[in-house]
């Protein structure tokens, strides 16, 4: 596909010093990366959480229909509704897990997620403000950890990768930090 970058006019004199034009076809392509999947135990944890919520809702519906006389005739419908909803949630969780993954390139990190609503995020290493490895109590049982990457672009531009092993998380973190140190070695021109 030929894009509008190629037939762009050379821009005015003042801007010419920015003008490091590159044939966009030769640029690294984010669509060509291979995403690395997350730990399968991460899927189990998520399914267990869905299951626990399911049990609570089920118990709530059951208790309600035995206590309140008016609700009783609709019990079967409510049960069916709850079953369909949680069946859907389970399916969504499995489907999303299959898609979920991260990829490291030499200058940025990519993360994709979702099933019906899919998303792909990219953060260049130089734009990462700080990294955080978190491990909750459930994570500890399953030997999992999550890595959070913060940017200055606000919370919706941050990436959180759940379902890594603590070792993986630490490796990614040190990889990014060493890359950033490498990049920062060159002198930085702070003027616009």
């Amino acid at each position: 596909m030929v894009n509008n970058m190629e037939n762009q006019e050379p821009i005015s004199e003042e801007t010419s010093f920015y003008n490091d034009q590159v044939q966009s076809l030769n640029l690294p392509k984010m669509e060509e990366v291979v995403y690395e999947p997350l730990q399968t135990s991460h899927l189990y944890v998520n399914l267990i959480v869905v299951g626990i919520i399911f049990l609570f809702v089920l118990a709530g519906v059951t208790v309600l229909s035995f206590l309140v006389e008016e609700v009783k005739p609709y019990f079967i419908f409510a049960l069916l509704g709850v079953l369909i909803l949680f069946g859907f949630l389970t399916l969504a969780e499995i489907k999303a897990f299959k898609f979920r993954g991260y990829a490291l390139r030499s200058h940025d990190i990519l993360y994709r997620d979702g099933w019906l609503w899919k998303s792909w995020m990219v953060i260049p290493f130089t734009r990462i403000q700080h990294l955080e490895i978190n491990q909750g109590p459930i994570d500890r049982i399953f030997d999992l950890a999550s890595l959070q990457l913060f940017t200055a672009g606000g919370s919706s531009s941050d990436i959180e990768i759940d379902g890594l092993t603590p070792g993986q998380a630490a490796d990614i973190k040190s990889f990014i930090m060493s890359k950033n140190a490498e990049i920062n070695e060159g002198d930085v021109d702070s003027t616009l």
């Binding site: 609503w117 260049p124 672009g153 606000g154 941050d158 060159g186 002198d187 702070s190 616009l192």
Partner: protein
């Protein structure tokens, strides 16, 4: 405003805030207290309703909490001081737990001064300092004497060339590039979005209503007492006329109060804007901290040829207008002049625009119709057939707005900038340098899958811009290019 010659202050040694800060603490406590108990007081005392014990306890509770917090703040005032050491602004505070907050000067994003009536009376200023990113540090000093504040600002702003000797003696040269006089201000006020002011009235009325209910007065009981006038078209039109008039007056007042004596000036490599009648405030923004420049108008402003200009700065709080410089009533010439300062090599002629896919419009139509259908079904359910006319008009309005919005939505980028156009009845322009992008996101919903369309969102340190419904191929080409530009660019994004 003239830059006054600033006497030398020694910020290396600990400095305390002005004693006026104590007065401010007391006033603030009273204000909070007033807000909390004014309504119950009004209800119990003025309207002669018998206060329950519950109510009395509530008032006593609130008062004691306020008093304790006031005393705490006052003691805190004597325990806190600030100084500059090793290129860091350090603030010590705290009574029980000692707190030390240090902000490296080069990480300071914005330095804002605000004054309300009290500040003006006693010649002090409130200082607010904000940094972007990881630490999310913010700092506020409630009252600093004017000359001291000016000196401090010069030090903090002056440190941009990294190792520089502070020279508080030399006043910065300031050049006013835009100011609003009273007729301009009135013009801008009249051209405001009156629907918003109208909305504010409704919110305010709702707030009173909800608060009255909270203290046990059911407003509806009183409404019943008022004799219901027969509904007539004249009364309806009168009501609308009154509503418009009040909205107009409110937006006029809002504009005048907020932007009174507005001066946008250029000093060094940054902007400074001061404005406000009762609460005047000054916002500073250095060129390299500005992430996006945008300008917009509405139908009325378009006719008059004026725009609102917005210079968005990097800020730790996500996307808050507080940290932006907003200049109402700008002409196109002024906008181009300001753009020349911020983005010297930018020009509107450098861009060829692309449109988003037509299904973006169809989706908006679809949602408008669905919304209309739901509303109509509800009015059938309640047998309120007259409401249907209103709903039809509203849906038609939404559809016209969607159409205009789609027509105006366009995006473009070149080697240096991303430039988006949008708006419905008015126009909106957003310009942002590519290298200031922090991260990007491509997303696809089930409705976009068939035509393989995606939304592309570019995040920068002052917010985000989205390009909806573009072919995935196009989004990927643009993303790859943006990433390439960010990654080879060595300039700081702030």
């Amino acid at each position: 405003m003239k830059a006054m010659s600033t006497p030398h202050f020694d910020f290396d040694s600990p400095q305390r805030q002005s004693t006026i800060a104590i007065l401010l603490v007391i006033l603030k406590t009273l204000k909070v207290l007033f807000r909390q108990i004014a309504l119950p007081f009004f209800v119990f005392v003025v309207m002669g309703k018998k206060g329950s014990d519950y109510g009395t306890y509530f008032v006593v509770f609130i008062c004691s909490i306020s008093f304790i917090s006031m005393v705490y703040s006052i003691i805190n005032h004597f325990r806190s001081f600030y100084y500059i050491a090793n290129n860091e602004l350090v603030v010590h505070s705290g009574i029980l737990g000692k707190k030390k907050l240090s902000i490296p000067i080069e990480r300071i994003q914005t330095i804002n001064f605000e004054e309300n009536l009290i500040h003006k009376l006693f010649h002090v200023k409130r200082l607010k300092i904000d940094t972007a990113g990881s630490g999310e540090k913010e700092l506020e000093l409630a009252a600093i004497d004017n000359p001291k504040a000016e000196a401090l600002r010069n030090i903090l702003l002056g440190n941009k060339e990294h190792s520089m000797v502070f020279d508080t003696q030399m006043p910065k040269r300031e050049e006013v590039i835009f100011s609003l006089d009273i007729p301009d201000l009135i013009k801008a006020g009249l051209m405001e979005n009156h629907l918003r002011s109208g909305g504010l009235i409704l919110v305010f009325m709702w707030w009173i209503y909800a608060n009255l209910q909270e203290v046990g007065i059911n407003a509806e009981d009183y409404i019943e007492e008022v004799e219901k006038p027969a509904f007539s078209i004249n009364l309806f039109l009168l009501g609308i006329g009154f509503f418009i008039l009040v909205s107009l007056i409110i937006s006029l007042f809002r504009t005048v109060f907020k932007y009174y004596n507005l001066h946008l000036s250029r000093s060094g490599n940054g902007f400074k804007i001061s404005q406000g009648l009762l609460n005047s405030k000054t916002i500073s923004a250095l060129d390299h901290k500005i992430q996006t420049v945008s300008w917009s108008d509405n139908l009325l402003k378009k006719v008059m040829g004026i725009h609102d200009l917005k210079l968005k700065q990097a800020s730790s709080k996500t996307v808050e207008s507080k940290e932006s410089i907003i200049v109402p009533g700008c002409s196109y010439r002024h906008i181009m002049q300001i753009c020349q300062y911020v983005f010297p090599s930018w020009s509107p002629d450098l861009f060829t625009f692309s449109k988003v896919d037509k299904s973006y419009l169809y989706r908006s139509y679809f949602f408008s119709l669905i919304l209309g259908l739901i509303a109509i079904s509800i009015s059938f359910l309640f047998k309120n057939y007259t409401a249907i006319y209103g709903i039809v008009v509203l849906v038609a309005f939404l559809m016209v707005m969607s159409y205009l919005g789609y027509k105006k939505l366009a995006y473009s980028y070149n080697t240096e900038w991303i430039y988006l156009k949008g708006g419905a009845f008015g126009d909106k322009h957003v310009v942002s340098p590519i290298f200031k992008t922090q991260s990007l996101k491509i997303s696809q919903n089930p409705f976009q899958r068939r035509k393989d369309l995606v939304n592309l969102t570019l995040f920068n340190a002052s917010g985000s811009e989205s390009i909806p419904f573009i072919p995935r191929e196009t989004a990927l080409i643009m993303s790859n290019y943006v990433l390439f530009k960010i990654e080879i660019d060595k300039r700081h994004w702030m």
